[in-house]
Symmetry: C2
């Protein structure tokens, strides 16, 4: 029986679709398995109603109930363990009620592994037009049709409960960069207040609720935010409001300052980050989860990650190169297609270019994560990072 369940979870559901899993029977768990000797890096395990996975892990971004160009089977073959989805997008289209009626997000998009949904906070502040923020919530215009909408913390939770992801996020204000101390203080207090309302509205029911630490680029406000969220109590803690335009140094120092303020026995999630080097740095600081559009968006723009640096597929030097993107890479793309062909597809603006490039970049991230986990397990993370840096030093094909 357990064996059957495992097989089912390892591939896409087939018509007639099985009934929706009752999340209520399950409970979210995080097990901290070890902390690396020389760094703060952590090896953990997250258990959800839709299966378990090790941390650190990277969460590919599926904004509109799809990782662009990928089927579920593609993602499973690549080794993706959890994906994110975007409440803001799904609330507007097709509507969370429709997805609920269809048995939730997992059934809707035929993804039988864990899903995380964000609260929409980031999109409200980056995509929403004519945005008006008040103590009660956010009024905004849809980027699709200009229609007016209002979202408050209670609704952010209600939407995410309808969608039925395994991990859901409280509503926050993502502070733009740069921002004054006064603005950041006011906004961070609002995020705490909203987090409290989210927690009150949250019914549990097998889902996990994460709080989001804000505080801009001010250490004392990060501390205040982390403390207040800990007091409310969440299943996990995210660090938000980074990778919004600040320098890598500032981002790194904020992660490094904030991570130790978070409870040891809950997962720590660095939102919207990042490049491979950012992941490595943040893992060292004890971050467990990441999500970012970089591997997928860069793939669609023809920028490919390899162990020797970045490769820009449109460059003319690839036009007669029979090698795969990276020799020895086990991804579907590298096993079947040459750089010359990928360059042709990209310059001819063919859809297949986006798909094959996405497969490669996601596989690269999955392999990097596997390498990091293994290094933590063996207590040789610093050595791993040194080797990783040496291999790619100065060889970017930009």
């Amino acid at each position: 029986m357990k064996g059957n369940k495992r097989i089912e979870a390892a591939r896409g559901l087939e018509f007639p679709w099985p009934p929706r899993i009752d999340l209520g029977e399950m409970s979210f768990q995080f097990h901290l398995m070890k902390t690396e000797k020389e760094t703060g890096a952590r090896l953990g395990k997250i258990v959800t109603a839709h299966g378990e996975f090790e941390t650190p892990t990277f969460i590919p971004v599926g904004s509109q109930a799809t990782i662009k160009s990928m089927t579920s089977d593609d993602l499973i073959e690549i080794g993706v363990e959890i994906i994110s989805n975007n409440s803001y997008h799904l609330y507007l289209r097709p509507g969370h009620r429709i997805i609920e009626q269809l048995g939730g997000l997992h059934r809707f998009m035929n993804w039988n592994r864990p899903i995380l949904t964000d609260s929409g906070g980031y999109q409200l502040f980056s995509l929403g037009q004519l945005r008006e923020i008040s103590k009660d919530g956010v009024t905004f215009q849809s980027h699709i049709d200009g229609s007016r909408h209002f979202i408050n913390p209670e609704m952010a939770i209600e939407i995410q409960q309808s969608l039925g992801a395994d991990i859901i996020m409280s509503l926050d204000e993502c502070i733009p960069y740069p921002a004054s101390y006064e603005y950041t203080l006011r906004s961070t207090s609002l995020t705490t207040e909203w987090a409290r309302q989210c927690k009150e509205a949250f019914r549990g029911n097998g889902q996990a609720l994460f709080g989001i630490v804000q505080g801009g680029m001010f250490e004392d406000l990060r501390e205040k935010s982390a403390r207040e969220l800990r007091e409310i109590g969440f299943d996990g803690y995210a660090i938000g409001g980074l990778s919004v335009g600040e320098s890598p140094d500032i981002m790194y120092s904020m992660v490094s300052y904030t991570a130790p303020l978070l409870p040891r026995d809950n997962p720590r999630y660095l939102m919207g980050v990042g490049k491979p080097e950012d992941l490595i740095d943040a893992v060292k600081e004890g971050i467990d989860l990441f999500d970012c559009v970089i591997p997928t968006r860069n793939a669609r723009n023809g920028m490919l990650f390899t162990s020797f640096g970045k490769l820009v597929i449109k460059n003319a030097r690839h036009s007669t190169d029979e090698r795969p993107i990276e020799e020895g890479c086990g991804c579907y793309t590298c096993r079947h297609y040459s750089r010359a062909y990928l360059r042709h597809l990209y310059t001819a603006r063919e859809i297949l270019a986006m798909r094959l490039n996405t497969i490669h970049n996601l596989y690269y991230y999955v392999q990097l994560i596997k390498g990091l986990r293994e290094a933590i397990r063996r207590d040789n993370l610093l050595h791993f990072c040194k080797q990783w840096n040496e291999k790619r030093e100065g060889k970017d094909d930009l």
Copy 2:
């Protein structure tokens, strides 16, 4: 050994790619296996250096060395046996010499089954700008960068020999509709002259060369064209210049008139056709091969073929419909995704919509072809057609 070859042909090549197959060792064959009792429908077999397939068959169009959004493995899973490629597109980008240097089209695009290339005639007349036609050939401007090019029959063959497809086409002028008798006569004579030059330039070398019958909508010119091409002698004969804007009745009468003028022991290829009903009608007249962008282009535009008629996925009625496009359909899309999800992907303009829709439509065409072959085998084609029509009568979801 033969078993190994079969396995290799059944999936994409893996890096390091095996050497290019020497077409020169093989020879193209067509075996007419039977003619159906009540109609002129034929069951045949084509043997090429890259494997064999039964006829009638449908050839999906891969303009730029890719069936848009499909990997080779997708096509193999769907049951596609042969694809076409476009000389005009590949001559301009990436260039036939580059593809030759990379070991030919099969290796370049990692498609190990038969390929047909057209001569570029159709594209020269539909895409080329500032086109000037003379007895010697065609001068045109690239639709990509406006650069000036000249192609004559000898070069059309040279390009296709570089690409290395299993079946190549002679250069023709695709006559626009409507056209006067005088224009059509002059143009058809030119196509014959070009066909003669193509035959002279053709080195064989394991490839098959097909001639293209023109003659516009005039029976006597179709007869003249067919007779002249037969005199030159080709491995197969195409009917060109149809599906260019004429009514279905005129097209049908031209196919019906022209097909019997072609040699019994060579394959007959109706170019650029068509809708499922066109295929059925033309099979009855003894046509063996078809190619058309309809299944793939319509898929990208959200128009899906089913046994009960066409389904327009963007229609609101599908927004909460949990059923697959067609219950009982064995395609990957129908086995894994609901109409509701496909509608969402389409309205959200997601890349995955194009891919999942393309899988379904190509699978539909493959199944239709299988049904036609089986009906010919059993001598009950008219019964098959009657049932096929009854099932879809008046139920289009347009």
